[in-house]
């Protein structure tokens, strides 16, 4: 059992930068947990505070029930993989992998055997005698992983370990890493600023913004029901359409750009006539129609982008509002054509003051 519990964890850097403000978070045992957020939001700081490389200025960190807030990094039983892999250039791959064991005073023979075994497991068997400089980026990444694995830590911390790989290698490494984590069952916290990576790999995702958690949930939850417009615009490879609207008389519909769209079920009870809201719907959840439809946004096609198996169409609505719609192949409209975008009712969301209307308590971190 190695769950991680953060209790009002805070970090203020000496210069006065407040990088973490009173975070509460629990990472479950064996979970693959992703920390996601824009640059400078404090992801690395959180990870480094977990590792003990930065001292918390408030709150506590518990690993497996043990308070480690004041423990030095070496006593926390944690392994970390850095963005630059931090392989020692003067040691061979085997020596690198065995290094933490050497520090832990494991005997020479046992150490070498363990290093060889781990290297073998990660497909580095034939590269053991090479130096890091003689490895490709992907091999270096696996060597760094092997070093983290070899000493069987309670927790893995990864700080953007895939960002030095090219696009194809990154996809491969993603699958590989996820599988490996599943097999090892070690609690893992993974930092990334790539939302696709977080959604693809993690069991749960935490979205951070300026030192605070904005939402914690499974990738599906975070993708389907972003708790705020910030999360909504951050998650998803094509950003969610966020359209200003107003509740019409009776509270049964939202007027967006002169059209009336139905109010999503969960939100109805929380709204009253005249409320100013933001109507959120992902391009994937808008159905394209060439014929006039009620309860749909309408406009003219201004841009068509090819996504491969589909097209991303930008519809310029009558009020000048731009709406993006994913249109399946073969139905691709011509630029300048008129079109209607019908929201999928169960996927549309309403935001008031930037927060999701009708969110359950679980969706909004305290």
């Amino acid at each position: 059992m190695a769950d991680i519990t953060l209790n009002r964890l805070a970090k203020v850097y000496p210069g006065g930068v407040r990088a973490l403000s009173d975070l509460d978070l629990t990472v479950r045992d064996g979970e693959f947990f992703a920390l996601l957020g824009p640059s400078g939001c404090g992801k690395s700081t959180l990870l480094r505070t977990l590792a003990g490389l930065e001292e918390a200025t408030g709150g506590s960190v518990h690993i497996a029930g043990q308070d480690v807030t004041a423990l030095p990094p070496g006593d926390r039983d944690i392994a970390m993989v850095f963005q630059d892999y931090a392989l020692f250039p003067h040691m061979t791959v085997h020596e690198n992998i065995a290094y933490p064991l050497k520090i832990k005073k494991v005997g020479k023979g046992e150490r070498a055997a363990k290093a060889r075994e781990t290297a073998e497991e990660l497909g580095l068997g034939h590269l053991g005698e090479r130096r890091p400089g003689q490895l490709s980026g992907g091999q270096q990444q696996r060597a760094a992983l092997a070093r983290a694995m070899a000493c069987h830590p309670r927790v893995f911390l990864f700080d953007e370990p895939l960002s030095n790989l090219d696009a194809r290698m990154r996809l491969e490494a993603r699958t590989f890493l996820k599988k490996l984590q599943r097999e090892l069952g070690v609690t893992t916290v993974f930092v990334t600023h790539d939302q696709a990576e977080a959604l693809a790999m993690a069991d749960r995702v935490a979205v951070m913004e300026s030192g605070a958690l904005r939402q914690v949930g499974t990738p599906t939850e975070v993708f389907r029901r972003p708790a705020s417009t910030f999360v909504a615009s951050f998650i998803g490879s094509t950003p969610m359409n966020l359209l200003d609207g107003e509740l019409v008389a009776g509270g049964g519909a939202v007027r967006v750009s002169g059209r009336e769209l139905p109010v999503p079920d969960g939100a109805r009870a929380h709204l009253k006539e005249g409320d100013e809201v933001v109507y959120g719907v992902r391009p994937e959840y808008l159905r394209w129609s060439e014929r006039a439809v009620d309860a749909a946004l309408s406009g003219t096609v201004s841009v068509v982008e090819n996504l491969g198996s589909a097209h991303l169409v930008t519809l310029e609505c009558d009020g000048g509002l731009g709406v993006q719609v994913v249109v399946p192949e073969e139905h691709e409209p011509a630029v300048g054509a008129r079109g209607w975008a019908v929201p999928r009712e169960d996927r549309a969301l309403l935001y008031r003051d930037g927060e999701l209307v009708g969110a359950t308590p679980a969706e909004v971190p305290a």
């Binding site: 590792a51 003990g52 490389l53 030095p72 990094p73 070496g74 006593d75 926390r76 944690i78 392994a79 970390m80 850095f82 963005q83 630059d84 931090a86 020692f88 250039p89 003067h90 290094y99 933490p100 520090i103 832990k104 005698e129 090479r130 130096r131 890091p132 400089g133 003689q134 490895l135 490709s136 980026g137 270096q140 070093r147 000493c151 030095n164 090219d166 290698m169």
Partner: protein
């Protein structure tokens, strides 16, 4: 081994040149000047070097083989004595004693003192900011940039038997430091004087050690000493050797102790430069002094060659690091390009390191 290195070098050179289309030219210099024009450019500098460095050295060599003196008959008509001066020196207790003192001086004040204190300062200042660091840095630098004559006077005043600053501080009135501990005095003086250079060089070197490497070691549980041994020193070995080479040679040839102790008391601080000065100009034995100078030059050369050889091994081992960054910068194809070259260039270096 030479063959493999050169092949690797040609590979990089052609790689650099091909984009400009200069690859086919017979003379392969970086600027494309051609041999004649290149020679014309360096000629003035070569003339100056010949005039002011090579010629005096050769002249010293010649003088060293004569019995030339400041006064007397040999001053007018020096006789050629061959290697007599050198054989005399090797049997001369004064010379051997001063050689021993010089060795003590170099080891104590440069190799151990300046390098050690400089590294300690650099390591301590690594992640610190604020007034303490700034002040300390300024003080260390000040000791380095003050003129020798000023510094010598300061130290004489500092160590003075009656009313010297040190005696006042330690409440030891009348302790004659320069008489009772002459070598120790000039060693401590030279540590104080020269640590700034080592500090700056090591500061720059430590800046090259990636924080993530040290942190990886810390996460593994490495102590401060283990971090130094396993992460820092292998990384800055080249800087350490360069630093040791420079400060050894500088200290070896340093004449400033003379300004403090004048070689005394009774020759107790007569390091080689001081000994030569006293022999050649004090006693007027110019020929013998020149021979001693030549011996000193030889020792300098030997020291330099030893360090440079160590440095050479280090550079070979480091190529792997260079290639690593190159490979990471671009994508897959470059990796494959670099792969065949790597094992050839790397294998010998790896062997040397383990040996």
């Amino acid at each position: 081994m030479a063959a493999t290195t050169s092949s690797a070098e040609t590979a990089t050179r052609t790689g650099e040149q091909s984009p400009d289309g200069h690859g086919g030219e017979p003379e392969r210099d970086a600027a494309g000047l051609g041999r004649r024009r290149a020679a014309a450019f360096v000629a003035p500098a070569l003339v100056l070097i010949a005039l002011f460095l090579v010629l005096p050295a050769v002249w010293t060599l010649y003088l060293g083989a004569t019995d030339y003196r400041l006064t007397g008959i040999p001053a007018i008509d020096p006789a050629f004595v061959g290697l007599d001066n050198v054989t005399k020196a090797l049997g001369d207790d004064d010379f051997l004693h001063s050689l021993w003192l010089t060795l003590l001086f170099v080891l104590g004040s440069a190799v151990i003192g300046q390098a050690g204190l400089g590294f300690a300062l650099a390591w301590w200042m690594r992640e610190r900011t604020g007034w303490l660091k700034t002040t300390l840095e300024a003080l260390v630098m000040l000791a380095w940039i003050l003129p020798s004559s000023v510094v010598a006077f300061l130290w004489i005043a500092f160590l003075d038997r009656d009313g010297g600053t040190l005696n006042t501080l330690l409440h030891t009135p009348g302790a004659a430091w320069l008489l009772d501990h002459p070598m120790l005095s000039i060693i401590v003086y030279n540590i104080w004087r020269g640590s700034a250079f080592s500090m700056m060089l090591y500061s720059a070197a430590l800046g090259n050690v990636p924080a993530s490497h040290l942190e990886t070691a810390r996460l593994a549980g490495a102590s401060g000493w283990q971090q130094l041994r396993d992460v820092v020193f292998p990384r800055i070995r080249g800087h350490v050797l360069t630093n040791l080479l420079l400060i050894s040679l500088w200290t070896f040839n340093d004449f400033t102790p003379f300004l403090i102790t004048a070689g005394g008391p009774n020759g107790a601080t007569e390091t080689l430069p001081v000994h030569i000065y006293k022999t050649a100009l004090g006693s007027g034995e110019l020929g013998y002094g020149a021979a001693l100078s030549f011996l000193m030059l030889l020792i300098n050369l030997v020291v330099a060659v030893v360090y440079l050889r160590l440095l050479g091994q280090k550079n070979k081992a480091r190529r792997s690091g260079k290639r690593k960054t190159a490979a990471r910068g671009s994508g897959g194809p470059t990796d494959q390009d670099a792969a065949p070259a790597a094992p050839h260039a790397e294998a010998p270096a790896a062997k040397e390191e383990t040996a």
